[in-house]
Symmetry: C2
Subunit: 394 residues, 2 copies
Amino acid sequence: MPDVDLPFSRQEYADRLTKVRASMEARGIEVLVAADPSNMSWLTGYDGWSFYTPQAVVVTHDGEPWWWGRRMDANGARRTVYMDEAQILDYSDDHVMSTERHAFGQLAGLLDGMGHGSARVGVELDNYYYSAAAHQHLCAGLPDAEVLDDTALVNWQRGVKSDRELEYMRRGARIVERMHARIRDIIQPGMRKCDLVAEIYATGISGTEEFGGDYPAFVPMMPTGADASAPHLTWDDKPLKVGEGTFFEIAGAYRRYQLPLCRTTFLGTPPDDMRRAEKAVLNGLDAGLAAARAGNRAKDVATDFYTTMEAAGFHKEGRCGYPIGISYPPDWGERTISFRTTDETVLQSGMTFHFMPGLWMDTWGLEITESIVITEDGPAEPLADVPRAIYVKG
Amino acid sequence: MPDVDLPFSRQEYADRLTKVRASMEARGIEVLVAADPSNMSWLTGYDGWSFYTPQAVVVTHDGEPWWWGRRMDANGARRTVYMDEAQILDYSDDHVMSTERHAFGQLAGLLDGMGHGSARVGVELDNYYYSAAAHQHLCAGLPDAEVLDDTALVNWQRGVKSDRELEYMRRGARIVERMHARIRDIIQPGMRKCDLVAEIYATGISGTEEFGGDYPAFVPMMPTGADASAPHLTWDDKPLKVGEGTFFEIAGAYRRYQLPLCRTTFLGTPPDDMRRAEKAVLNGLDAGLAAARAGNRAKDVATDFYTTMEAAGFHKEGRCGYPIGISYPPDWGERTISFRTTDETVLQSGMTFHFMPGLWMDTWGLEITESIVITEDGPAEPLADVPRAIYVKG
């Protein structure tokens, strides 16, 4: 096996496995099939852009986890996971883009061969990387097994971050600070958006002198003017114009840990209603940060934020935050808790969130957000330090 | 509705719809639910990084398609699709990351309300953006419907490219040429890989003076040295060293059309076996290009390539190419044909492929590839012009 530059100690991986097994035990799960690349990486260290073909980490109550995937990607597993060679399972290339055989059918055969043919098997039923076809083939290959939905079982164990994880996220914060500084330095009327995005990418990937950046789980989203009412547009090659606002939904990333942070710019003089909204959002952020403390509930953050916004005349619904940590495209959220007025989850020290209020109005959009960590006591700590205001130029 | 800068004429969208409906008709499909973002975009113009929440385009045999997705993304649909407001359907934000209600259950209700409660409904069963849970909720909400697997039904209609599509891919080719030229300009021992990737990104996104670049469906994959035996590793912040090869699996992109092209660099003097492999791959490429002509079959390209490689002493299996065109992460392949010795698909003029032989050996990897278009007669035309050799730097 080649030398592996593990991002975490073996003890940390062992601790994670213990937590996951306890959750499996509580649900009566004997075999867990985790196909979410974030979960695979968090459990084993596996890293690679190979999730476009079937792959998974298999956890039972004995021994080390198994990595399973395409044969050519087993070489990537050998270079990134902590487990021994015997724990690496693969399937041949004729399963790829085949209408005759499905890789998850092959996995079913492997599990059966390991003696799990009649086990209680947990799968991540609602995940990008576990398709409806994957599920049918796994179930068909394990006719005597009981296949149960364990979407987000692993994700829930990822909520409280270790010191090392927080260190990686603080590195992401240093990177996203530089990305926003670069935007402030160079944005100007007449600049093509694609050229601005090029600089954002270059800054984020180069990182700092001490450590380089990784790819964020989203591409930069940065709609301008009236397009900013549509939050998930990306960019084009049109020039930026005076009289238009743009929001930048971007993240710094370090070893797959994501640190999203949004800011809004305006070329010229922002309209009064946008300025009013800015004031409301800043007050709402303050209220939410104060509520985001250990022992409070996720809904407390949302309630205090929305109440502040309502008082300022802005009605907003939906959620205003979600947990963050390790992630792969297409989403940097942890997919568990929501800052929503109905979410009863108790906040714990070491949990990390993107507190993400967005206002998408008919003619403009405003995003000023913070990525935060819940502390032992006191309000949440913003991880990045970027001026919390609309950046106005010219 | 805002002004929409459609990438294609309304006539072209109408022609696409006609082709898809003919294929639906042949399969007896009354309602097609296409959740693949590439298919959604090809059918309607929709563009946005919103595929991390449920969304789809619905096609029946009457009228225009429907766009369906999260409420905040309906604003993005209004800005990118050709259809009227009445064709835009959405679901409320409390379906997002909810364990109580699933968006695909809501879609089932909408389809039922349109009178499709007992229709034959086609779904893309094996797609990242149609999870096992999505399928269960759609089926549960349409108990009297017959839900059938139509994975890749739309993809197959995308194979032969229009003149406008080829124009976009040629723009992608201009971009990827610049990306490789930039690598050749700046690569040197001691350079951190992340800094090289930063430049690759910046070059690809800036594009040319005439048109900007879009995001590729993969991030750059560029393993070095022995890591190059693992094809899907990304990058780190370690310095490049003398005596090591690196391959660059990258793409230029224009308005979501992807033009992948791989080249390999070596700092110092490449080992003899790598030079032998280079020669074999170049001969194999020539053989494959000659076989990649209208009327031949996909397997002919693979057979002629592998035969040439075998004659040179390199045994390789798997596939050595796949169709390309419009795409979103995590894959830039069209997911239909494979250059594989068993694929009987007849090649047609206007089809585009990434002819992608990769050699991933124990201590090095070599990728020299071409993106090609099948011509009326004669061998396939490479779309980009990048020196077809290992790039060696002192």
